[in-house]
Amino acid sequence: MPRTLNFKDNPVESQLFLGRIISAFVIIVLLTVCLIVRLAYLQVVGHQHYATLAKENSIKIEPTVPSRGMIYDKRGNILAENAQTYSLELVPDQVSDLDNTLARLKQLLDIPDEKIEQFQRLRKRQKRFTSIPLIANLTDEELAKFAVARPYFHGVDAHVRQLRHYPYGDLAAHVVGYVGRINEEELKELPISEYRGSTYIGKLGVESSYETELHGKTGYSEIETNVQGRPLKTLKEVAPIAGSNLHLTLDIDLQKTAYDALEKYNGAVVAIEIETGGVLTFVSRPGFDPNPFVIGISGPAYQALQSSPDQPLYNRALRGLYPPGSTIKPFMALAGLEYNTVGVRQQLLCPGYYQLPNDSHRYRDWRKGGHGAVNVSEAVTQSCDVYFYRLAGMLGIDRIHAFLQQFGFGEKTGIDLMGEKSGLLPSREWKLSKKNQVWFPGETVITGIGQGYHQVTPLQLAKATATLANNGKIVTPHLVDKVVSDAVTKPSENNPKTTLPLKSANINTIIAAMVNVVHSNRGTARSIGLDINYQIAGKTGTAQVINIKQNASYNEHAIDFKQRDHALFISFAPADNPKIAVAVIAENGGHGGSVAAPIAAKVIKQYLSDKQTALP
């Protein structure tokens, strides 16, 4: 090699580099010539061919949109269907005077201004040659009127379209969800070939989480057209594959019972079939009518929904965060037994309040005089606060956190819906990282009765209750039972079930205490257990909305309705062979026993009597 010198050989290097520059330029010119040759081939040699394709007989590829899968409930009731409707549409490119045409149409069909505004908004987002809907569902009368006047409206036509319809309206809106027009952001994310020609996409509920299954596969046909774009013949056709039908675990009759039972209260009712984890009711009240969202809800109507103090668009069952209140007590009691912190017969004294050493703050019991000496069963049945203040202190926050976490508190349940909240199960680490503060002993005390930082969703409560009823075998809630397409029936995958390592004697103690809540004369929900031949296990709860000052007393009638406590109830039945678990939250309901428990009872009674009549 000539290069043995240590210093840099600049002239040689320059020469090498210059050589490479020239080679690079030659390569670039040669490749450019290749491009030019190809361009000349297309534009000179192929010009006639392509010009013909472009001008006279062009081949159009028309997508064929698959029909969207239907959604059924457990009994085969239709929750979402495709209705055939006539849609009045305009192609702006073919309309010579758009304003005039719209004015004449408005006069002919008495179209409200907001529909015209909506059309104008859509028009700005679409190409000029696409057909844009003005009225998505023409009535027969409107259709007849237009049919007569049609020759005078060039570029306007009525097309048969499939429109998604939800027969149960606001009853199941938070479960089924709705479809809406594909917006620009969604268009960017979607696989373009799959959605060519599609107008709608699932926006909420199972319509959204099972979008792929419901949508199906788009087909296409190659159509030869003449100058005017009129089809001459179809060259090739690939049929679309219709979307799969969904069969939900939801029971719409039971859903209605639960929804109606909430009456004047906002809130949520979640019922789970314990054996399968199938969700039987998933109520968030108030609901909303999903049908206007399909054709595009008007601005004022949406505003009204958005600004309503009852927040109908808010999915309380999935995303509502509430303190669990006393419904946490069975789980706390089980923790006490499992960790051997208290014995089954061991009694703790309840004088009506609890104080930490060296602290003047009194943590009060809901019963002024206290419950006296109570054991763990009596504490659950009578919902003794002081017992659980003490127990929480004895357990400590670390063990409380570890134990409750096993039941799914603080974590998403994994239901097949988007947007689930994970709630909040507080711990030392959480407080240090989020609040930058150490954990105080007083916070452990109130965690014992489900107050403080702990927040749960109604769905989480139902899952934890079902898991308790199932002897610690974890129940994962799901809404879709089967996905049925023409080709195959696919049951929705069941997650492998893990069982919590709990002693059955301890679980039985807790369940017996929860039965006494409903069936003993000291129970806090004894009004609901009178007319049945099986036993319901339950626990009432009350979650504070406002803080009551020390030495002040809570007077339900003196305070504003919106500041009243939330009423909670968790339950399952039959207690000896649990089939169904129900969690109820009635916002501002006041008392768990008198307001929330009867709601759960109605759901349980209907479900079990249906089950009995269904059996031979």
């Binding site: 290097e13 290749c34 491009l35 297309l42 997508p63």
Partner: protein, 377 residues
């Protein structure tokens, strides 16, 4: 006094020239870039359904990009060299960050949201990769040795694979070729270049048969034969060939593009804008555009040949060559000779990110050309 001020007015061109050289701006390069930009607005007006708002948006982005070019032209090339490794390291770290975030967010992500704009680390890496390789090779005499080749190969492969995983095949190709170009200018022997090509093509069937799953093979087949997927990318190719071919020698004239307007061609103002250009301006227009591109590339190669130190030479050469790869891959894809990968037509397509990176590269080239007093090592 009066006379003198008049003379100054007469000497205005030379004054402008003096100012520009003070500003470290290279006039031939600036003029050809401005010409291409003007052409871009002309085509965008037509391809973007004559939307003025869209043009204004693009003009702001291009204006900012030219500003960035002027700023970078001011910086001494020595500074680029000094921070090469650091910038490359930051780029790689950001690429990994984006990949991890995308993984958590359960979707492909290419950018970091900085609030006021979205930053794509893969764009930064397009420039920092050749900088890194040039920096690595600059301190030793050329041509490069075997171990240098191996280390450089790994350095190029890291960002390329990270970007290919995003997945952004187009950018991965550009990054790989920008690094490869440095090696080429550093004197990678022709025999080795041939050997690499031969071994790559020999390896292909092995990889095809033993390392790919069926679905991966199917994906590659649609990549190579887009007509098999007429509703997706194949549709673009069919339509863009019709558009280009129907343009003929003279084109249909400005705003005369029927295909882009009548057919659903969603990328007519971004990746497939060349089809609109070719339809409206014909073969002559295409030749004109290619000549403009060659002028830019020629000027850049000239700048590279005049550079005084190894780092500047290698970097300038690579930036010039990568610009060509940009042009070649995009036009090749639109006229149906290369598979469809997402690469915009440089300086013409709608969008801000690629323009910013391209003009940043030209800023570095101008810096190299206008800081001649810089003495190597």
């Amino acid at each position: 006094m009066k006379i003198e001020s008049r003379r100054e007015q007469f000497d205005a061109p030379s004054l402008v020239e003096r100012i520009l050289s003070k500003l470290h701006i290279d006039i031939p390069l600036l003029i050809s870039l401005l010409l291409i930009s003007c052409l871009s607005f002309v085509v965008l007006y037509s391809a973007g359904s004559q939307d003025i708002e869209l043009l204004v948006k693009q003009a702001i982005r291009v204006g900012l990009a030219f500003l960035l070019m002027a700023v970078l032209a001011h910086i001494n090339p020595y500074q680029f060299k000094r921070y090469s490794a650091l910038l490359f390291g930051i780029g790689i770290a950001l690429l990994i960050a984006v990949l991890v975030m995308g993984h958590i967010g359960k979707g492909a992500q290419r950018w970091l949201d900085l609030g006021f704009f979205r930053f794509q680390p893969s764009e930064m890496i397009k420039i920092t990769t050749p900088m890194m390789i040039a920096w690595y090779l600059a301190d030793h005499a050329l041509p490069l040795k075997t171990h240098q080749l191996l280390v450089s190969g790994v350095l190029i492969l890291i960002p390329t694979l990270l970007i290919a995983k995003q997945p952004d095949l187009g950018t991965a190709i550009l990054v790989a070729s920008s690094g490869g170009a440095v090696l080429f200018f550093a004197g990678l022997s022709w025999r080795l270049i041939m050997a690499i090509f031969v071994s790559l093509s020999a390896l292909t069937p092995v990889v095809w048969h033993y390392f790919l799953h069926d679905y991966q093979r199917a994906r590659i087949i649609t990549l190579l034969d887009p007509e098999a997927d007429p509703l997706g990318k194949g549709y673009h190719i069919i339509q863009s060939k019709i558009a280009i071919g129907s343009g003929g020698i003279y084109g249909k004239g400005w705003l005369g593009s029927k295909q882009s307007e009548l057919e659903f061609l969603p990328e007519s103002s971004t990746d497939f804008i060349f089809a609109v250009f070719a339809e409206e301006f014909g073969l002559f227009g295409c030749l004109g555009l290619l000549v403009l591109y060659l002028l830019v590339i020629g000027r850049c190669l000239y700048i590279a040949s005049q550079a005084q130190d190894t780092f500047s030479r290698l970097l300038a050469g690579s930036l010039a060559f990568t610009f060509f790869v940009y042009v070649f891959v995009n036009i090749g894809m639109v006229i149906g000779v290369l598979p469809v990968v997402g690469v915009p037509l440089p300086m013409i397509s709608y969008g801000g990110t690629s323009v910013v990176t391209l003009l940043a590269g030209f800023g570095i080239l101008m810096s190299i050309h206008t800081h001649k007093k810089f003495i190597p090592d």
